[in-house]
């Protein structure tokens, strides 16, 4: 019994460490033409359909479209450009970061 508890505890610690070590992976896209929330619905719709997408954040103020990726997954730049074009917009810049979407959301809430 004791060995089972130790093994379970070890597994728990390992899991926590594994999650802590996993960097948050975010795709940040600077998008031109992003001025109307009603018109930009297609961006979120298309990005959320991607298997690698965990969450999506759109800011009209900073012209930012950010995608939080699921672990060990990515979306190719060419696919991103195609998706945004199909939504009617133009990507100016794509970069990958470890910034969680919560950071962008908190910044957007500030007056």
């Amino acid at each position: 019994m004791k060995s089972i508890l130790v093994a379970a505890l070890a597994a728990l610690v390992f899991t926590i460490n594994a999650y802590a070590a996993e960097p948050v992976r975010t795709i940040e896209m600077n998008v031109d033409g992003l001025v109307c929330a009603f018109c930009a619905q297609g961006i979120e719709k298309k990005l959320r359909k991607q298997a690698a997408t965990d969450d999506v954040f759109v800011s009209l103020e900073t012209k930012l479209v950010a995608v939080a990726l699921k672990p060990d997954q990515d979306i190719a730049d060419a696919t991103l450009k195609s998706l945004l074009t199909e939504a009617g917009y133009t990507i100016k810049e794509i970069k990958r970061s470890e910034t969680p979407l919560a950071t962008f959301r908190a910044a957007a809430q500030k007056p």
Binding site: V31, D32, G33, L34, V35, C36, A37, F38, C39, A40, Q41, G42, I43, K45, K46, V58, S59, L60, E61, K63, T85, E86, A87, G88, Y89, T90, K92, A108
Partner: protein, 218 residues
């Protein structure tokens, strides 16, 4: 001598001042748009479109036109193709030019039976987070009538809306109807709100009549 309608002159001035020139008839690839507009008793229109690509949509509509003194009315059912001629995605603005065309069937209170009808439209728009302008000319004709509805809209937003928030716009509109539908240019002041995939606007015209529109993108 060529005479430029005042609405076009103002639209041209906006284009010159604001640069290249958005309620848009095309949402996004695989997007659907449903629109209903009640135009102060003179026009009512229901439109439904599907966009296979971001640059064109196909759909159908129903337009009811009532002459302001109730001398005649039109009921036009039509199909339409909307095509995005050009889009400018700028760093802090977006501008578009659309053209549309189609065919349909029309009935009128002042003639017997159903007539083959054609329709064509052109729309240019320019918007930022706080300024909106659009100029649209929508033409419907048959062997019995020819009506054009020219609409100029200028809007300002009292605040910069967030993607997940409610957008508020105050929009001034000038509308001209040809073919004896309405005498002069009809003005209107509208309050436009949109949030998520729902767009709603309502206001009053210079004749103190109600104008309203609701639109969904999905």
């Amino acid at each position: 001598m060529f005479k430029l309608h005042p609405a076009y002159a103002l639209g041209a001035a906006i284009l010159l001042v604001a640069g290249p020139l958005a309620a848009k008839p095309i949402a996004f690839q695989d997007g659907r748009t449903l629109m209903y507009e009640y135009g102060a008793g003179t026009m009512q229109e229901l439109q439904a479109y599907y966009a296979p690509r971001y640059w064109y949509s196909v759909g159908a509509g129903y337009l009811r036109l009532d002459q302001e003194d109730h001398r005649f009315s039109r009921d036009i059912t039509y199909t339409r193709l909307n095509y995005l001629v050009r889009r400018w995605n700028l760093s802090s603005a977006q501008a578009n030019v659309f053209v549309s065309g189609g065919v349909g069937a029309a009935r009128g209170s002042d003639f017997e039976g159903t007539r083959f009808a054609q329709n064509a439209a052109v729309q240019a728009d320019y918007e930022t987070l706080t300024f909106y302008s659009s100029l649209k000319s929508d033409w419907q004709r048959s062997s019995e009538f020819s009506h054009r509805i020219d609409t100029l809209q200028l809007g300002v937003a009292p605040y910069r809306h967030r993607y997940d928030g409610t957008a508020t716009w105050v929009v001034a509109q000038a509308r001209y109807y040809s073919g004896g539908l309405y005498d002069g240019v009809e003005g209107a002041l509208l309050l436009r709100l949109f949030r998520g995939p729902v767009w709603f606007e309502a206001g009053v015209t210079t004749d103190r009549k109600v104008q309203t529109m609701i639109m969904f993108n999905f």
